[in-house]
Amino acid sequence: MGIEIFFLMMLVTVSSPFVRLPVPLPDGVGLNPLLMDPGMLVHPPMLLMGYMSFSVPFAFAVAAMVTGKLDSEWLRAIRRWTLAAWSIQTLGLVLGAWWAYHVLGWGGYWGWDPVENAALLPWLTATAFLHSTMVQERRGMLKVWNLGLVITSFALSIFGTFEVRSGIISSVHSFAYSNIGSYFLVFLGIVIVFCTGLFIYRLPKLRPEQEFDSVISREGSFLLNNLLLVGITFATLWGTLFPLISNAVRHQTLTVGPPFYDQVNGPLFIVLILAMGIGPLLAWRRTSTRALRRNLGIPALAAAACAAVLPLAGIHDVWANVAFAICSFTAGAILYEIWRGVHVRHRHGEPYPVALYMLFERYRQRYGGYLVHLGLVMLAVGVIGSQFFQVQQDASLTPGHEMNIAGYKLVYFGNVDTKYSDGEIMTAQLQVWRDGELQQYIYPGIQYYAKFANQPVNLIPITTYGLTDLYVVFESWNGLSEARIRVFVNPLVSLVWLGGLVMLLGGITCWWPGRRKRRAVFTETGVGQKPEAERVGVGPQAANNEEAAT
């Protein structure tokens, strides 16, 4: 134990300053105007904090390997820390996307930029780890794999910081260049070599304790989940590094842009979401096909309903409809699971809201996980909607002119020029009409800073109608009576932010400590107040129901 603590301290103190270092330190002319935004203020520290948090599970893993105490004891601690890191990383990613959407003015939020990828990679492997540890916890299997995932997550975090700082790959995030990069590369090399050595040394101690029973089981679905997540991780890493490889091998510069990732990762994510619907319905060890068929009924109906309604509603994109149907399948599966749990509790005398609360309170891990899944489905629906159905139009307008886009009408009046001590803002004055009614006035603008004359910043009004965003960028102007604007209509984008929040909430639910404490409080005060009737007749039947729900 002493060695463990020592090692923990050493790794945390030695490694975390390394990870913490690259927080951008502005000096000289002041902050780049693109970075003067609250979203910017928050998201990089969040991501770096996430990176750094991965060093804790890593330290635990290394400590376990060094001391040879490779039982499940370290696993629980690691899980909680990974979950914390995962939640922070999720928040960082969503905030980063939100910032890009509100500031950069290209109507999107995720561009598969190398730095974005670098932030996503450890998140993906951490997600894989959070799932596969459950197999180790319950069945004592996959030990080697789990350790590998922890180490990979940490190595990818280091890779991420290295990539941001070194500027070896061209990226919109290349705000700073410095020679700090080579240190990270050396550090990364040491981490990988050291861990691989330790790993091989400890391999004999990592034998699985139990045997695998059936492919169609919870274990099997976790393996599929891991395969997909690792596949996405590798494809993303490969795409990020391929320009370097190509340059080194063929002296050929090329880019690997969003179309590549969309085509490779898109289908994988959709399969992942499908697996997310089926996986939790499977029992550990093996599932009878009858039980599975019974559980799949409702989600399948949800998917069929979605597949039938969407084309009738005029949506004719085949892939989008397939993706939406899969999303509704999974959402149906999750909501049905929650409903069943609530229903069982309700039958024993709890009113529905209390039953819902108690369900999440009592089985935090499981229902927190469902919440995360639900958030991811929402996010996926948002991504599919804005990816497939974004409408974009450019227009050059003079006063009194109007433009029509996807049911909206924009009427232009003129420009207004405002001068400040450190710059100038030019705004276009526009009315938004919809269904013959004036909705509101919007003022897209361009802000010029005296110190950064060649880097104007867009001020983008984003008006949300239902779940659809009207996103107007003021591109250029000519005097006070001509404006060039670019308008995006982004359906369902709000679901991306909402889904991100739900995921975070789910992560926190899983992570939230104090279950033991609460239970103590409950036995002191709670039990006495429970009406007797509630406890009568609950016995084995309830247990059976709960087991069925599991």
């Binding site: 029973d213 059936s214 880019t255 597949a307 004719h316 239970r519 429970k530 016995g539």
Partner: protein, 180 residues
């Protein structure tokens, strides 16, 4: 009887969804509007004067001109692939926003896809191996555990399980455990 009804329901649902989808596929226009096609082509091309933006997304003047050119060429009847080819012949492969499906850059596509397929195969063989091992073991050891247990042991286990469940959540508490 119930089984038959659910089978019928299944068939009905499949038939309804299938007919709607085939109707959708038949009536859907083979290609999108001109705006959409311009956007499709432009999002395949990289803006050469920007950092990490496609021609479709970039507000730069060069990209605006390129979008106008794409529109013009599509209007004159060129296919999307031909327009992209036109830009490649002028600027080289570096204008492509994703690596082309030929020569060396095929690696970019095939390595991840190939490895994923290899992963699926590996997983399949590993699982099969584990499963046969488990089966052999089961056969060697004869009967599975539950039958080896006698009734008293089973009752003991059940009692313990109930106690633990009750401690975990009062909803599982039953009068008998209370009495103990």
């Amino acid at each position: 009887m119930r089984k038959r009804r659910s089978l019928l329901l299944c068939i009905a649902v499949i038939a309804i969804v299938g007919s709607i989808w085939s109707y959708m596929l038949i009536t859907a226009p083979p290609q999108g509007t001109l705006d959409q096609r311009v956007h499709d082509v432009a999002s395949q091309l990289k803006c050469l004067v920007c950092q990490g933006e496609s021609v479709a997304d970039s507000p730069a003047t060069l990209s605006q001109q390129m979008r106008a050119l794409i529109r013009q060429q599509l209007q004159s009847g060129k296919s999307e692939q031909e327009v992209i080819q036109y830009f490649v012949s002028r600027y080289g492969d570096r204008i492509l926003w994703s690596p082309p499906w030929q020569g060396f850059t095929l690696l970019a596509w095939f390595v991840p896809i190939g490895l994923l397929l290899a992963g699926v195969l590996l997983l399949f063989f590993i699982l099969r191996n584990w499963q046969t091992q488990a089966n052999i073991k089961t056969r060697e050891h004869g009967a599975v555990e539950p039958e080896e247990m006698d009734a008293g042991e089973l009752a003991q286990y059940r009692q313990q399980l109930e106690k633990e469940l009750a401690a975990d959540d009062p909803i599982f508490a039953r009068p008998r455990t209370e009495a103990n």
